[in-house]
Symmetry: C4
Subunit: 281 residues, 4 copies
């Protein structure tokens, strides 16, 4: 398959315009499943990415502890308390357009149960962090997006990090084709492998991203873009691009080492403006 860089022109061309006479329903409701007592902040980071990324509504399925933490900083979201347990039992809030699962989750068995139910529904799914494991995926129309860093990809494949990193594109592409998923292999020059064997290389981002939490923000941004883009591949590539562009905007003014993952969402208002100025109505 053909591979190429996904560049600024691609983003500007494919970022959806925001028409005037819209309401939140048009931008979709996303479900975010994540957060645990040891990692309560991850779901907040993802949620900030989703809501600053333009989702219509966000429902966060998390523990009461993590919800109490997130709600003060992001009062705009709503909650589905103990959502992972509920999802594991097969239930889901009404009207969900896409879901993301994984940030801050540490109960792999409960995740498997939830995924059994989620994967049979036909909605875009993002799997990250605690939802990444060695498993197969059923064929479905709506995309499954996996976002491992090399260590997680190693656990998913049984291959060593060294092997995978020596040819990131090939490894990601093989997995994406075999499993019929979109595989976002993170790290410098993130690789976005599509199930048809093609893919993109992302040119944005820098060492400011090498800190805990930045991946969670990406998960949220992916959820938002999957809700607002028509084309899933463009949604994924744009989310990765914009995420890196936020880090680049940060380092143009501040020290890379000082950036926090939440600063990424703070850059979205300006970064998205720059990128979408040309295609607003």
């Amino acid at each position: 398959g053909a591979w190429r860089m996904w560049g600024e022109a691609d983003v500007k061309r494919t970022l959806p315009a925001r028409p005037f006479a819209v309401h939140k329903g048009i931008f979709g409701t996303g479900l975010l499943l994540g957060g645990s007592d040891d990692m309560p902040g991850s779901v907040l980071l993802a949620a900030m990415g989703a809501m600053r990324g333009g989702i219509g509504k966000l429902v966060i399925g998390t523990t009461r502890f993590a919800a109490g933490i997130a709600a003060g900083r992001l009062p705009e979201a709503t909650y589905w308390l103990d959502g992972l347990d509920k999802a594991a039992q097969g239930s889901l809030p009404d009207g969900i357009r896409a879901a993301a699962i994984g940030p801050g989750l540490d109960d792999p068995e409960q995740v498997e149960r939830a995924l059994e139910h989620l994967l049979v529904r036909n909605m875009p799914l993002v799997l990250d962090a605690g939802a990444l494991a060695k498993r197969g995926y059923p064929r479905r129309n709506a995309p499954v997006v996996l976002t491992p860093h090399p260590g997680e990809f190693s656990r998913m494949t049984g291959l060593s990090v060294k092997e995978l990193q020596q040819n990131r594109m090939a490894a990601a592409s093989r997995y994406a084709v075999e499993q019929g998923v979109m595989l976002v292999l993170k790290g410098a020059y993130t690789v976005i492998a599509l199930p048809d064997g093609t893919g993109y290389i992302n040119p944005t981002g820098n060492a400011a991203l090498a800190k805990g939490g930045t991946g969670d923000t990406l998960t949220g941004l992916l959820l938002a873009f999957l809700c607002t883009h028509e084309d899933a591949a463009a949604a994924v590539a744009n989310a990765v691009y914009v995420h890196g562009a936020c880090a680049d905007a940060w380092t143009s003014a501040y020290a890379a080492e000082a950036m926090l993952a939440s600063d990424l969402s703070g850059q979205l208002p300006l970064v998205l403006r720059e990128l979408s100025l040309s295609n607003q109505e």
Copy 2:
């Protein structure tokens, strides 16, 4: 009745001046009833709108969980814990000038009980979200302000969203006249229908508002303006105008998709200054 656009000149003319030798009692104490375990942030959003909107004091009737969340971000408010339950039993804090009920509420029966008591008192009332239902309203002097979006208006009337949206002014006006209420039908070009058959169209706002939580901010702003304006119709029209103007101020600098409802309150200090410069003492 006569309908017209409520424009900038109307706002500048009717926004109350803030005289020098005043104290908080002059601007009134508002009661805000809202918030639940699944939607704890909504009441914080409304509260920020009310307090940045110029209310004298704010009492928030909510759960302990939601209070704990709101108080760190808005320490300026006070609480009436489990206020909905107390209101349902007929009690009310002393000295309340106006009340708003609904953001984040999910117990319709308790809301009905509270409304029975609230509607017989002669104070301005704002009903939003969880307080909007198919019901009638008693004639009273103080205004009842309902703030449905089209989906909620559909549930209130039994008419389809499509029908209602085809002639928003007519539908809103009919309801307002029949029920003797002020009906704010939200969405692009929000319609403000008055019980005498007249009304206003709001020119401000944009797609940045198409995201969860923005309606809660409006509820708070309405509560504040009903406390500080002499004329209730002007209070309502001004709140809707200012709310939209905050979104317009945001999008003049930032991407619409990235705005959060709490950013609206963040714009109030400058937006209100622009609009009230001409009529301060």
Copy 3:
């Protein structure tokens, strides 16, 4: 006694310089007793005023609920959990230079018990809000500072608000002399009555202060200044002046109605710089 305006030159003359080779012990440890389940934010507002006002260390005696709320926003303070109850039993943390009591308190009997113990110790005391009542004060060397608004002063004296407001200076001065306290009668042109019959009128502040919570910030500022000033009367007059100057700085840029009490503390870094530039080492 002689009364006069306490102006900018007075503040600049009496604001203590901040010498270079100091440590936090030099600026003193203050104790703040306040906060309850219904008013958990008040103590945070006061604490922000105290810590941005230059206190060395702050110990907040409050409930666990209020502490959990304050600590995320002001991690710089430490806590004495259920401090009012402990103070009512006669205990006190070590090394306290001055104390403030009242913001957000709603248990008058427990307050009386705590005051019995606090008033016999020879440390400056600020009494506000829930600690203001009709009572007498023992003669002591360290100052007692009372900060009623007219409604509270009315309850303290049994006189009507109207009577008191008709001659604020006379009423405040009479009380201050009789009780041997410093009486800060708040409101436009705050009156600072000293126990020797003299006093000051404060020229700063504006209608932005007419909102819930602003008094709490003043209480904290008073606590800080009593810890850092040598002269208690100057400390009190400076705190009132600076508090109003923060509101004036706000309204020079933003709408008065939109200010929150916490914005006052946000102005302190610049306002204090302006006022102290001339007398730093």
Copy 4:
């Protein structure tokens, strides 16, 4: 041994560059043990220093109460709930590169137990506040960094504050050599004594630092720099320098008395940029 000032040129020379193709693992995972019910914010302050200081990942071992407080403000960290108790029983999270212990701890016996286990492992350790006591240290390869202020150093040595302050360098150096530790004697012109008898004097910082909480920020910064620097002495000297430089950046714009410890971390993005501009790749 030779002593000298550690100046800007030293910092610029030794601050590690941040290469492009890195991931968070390269910058290391730090463990921070601190926080108690009475001092829940201290660990948040230290954590902000660590994460804005460039650590790869941060695990905070603290109480559930303190974790709930910290996570809303710093969602980027993860938690090891009741970590001090777990460390006292000899356990430790996987993959920790360096640890800091002490901010906000008030249980000396539990600290001793934890230290017994921590000191036998060969990882850099920072001991501050509640972890400082009169005790000896085993010889080990990885550095032990102690960060007392003069009062704490007095308790550690049994000497009076006056004695210690009269010759800070000599007293610190003697202790560092005898115990084989790095001793950071805080206060104006902080002294950094190395176990080989040499040391540095820090030229940065000012009276803005004379307020509760600033030491906690330094502890976090030390943890971060020990994770990211090759040379431990440079890491310690740089952390002290940068910490003071943040205060100097603050006072160049704002009143010293108004600074909060958390403002120090807020200055890191610009201060670190200034200092590292010359040695980025």
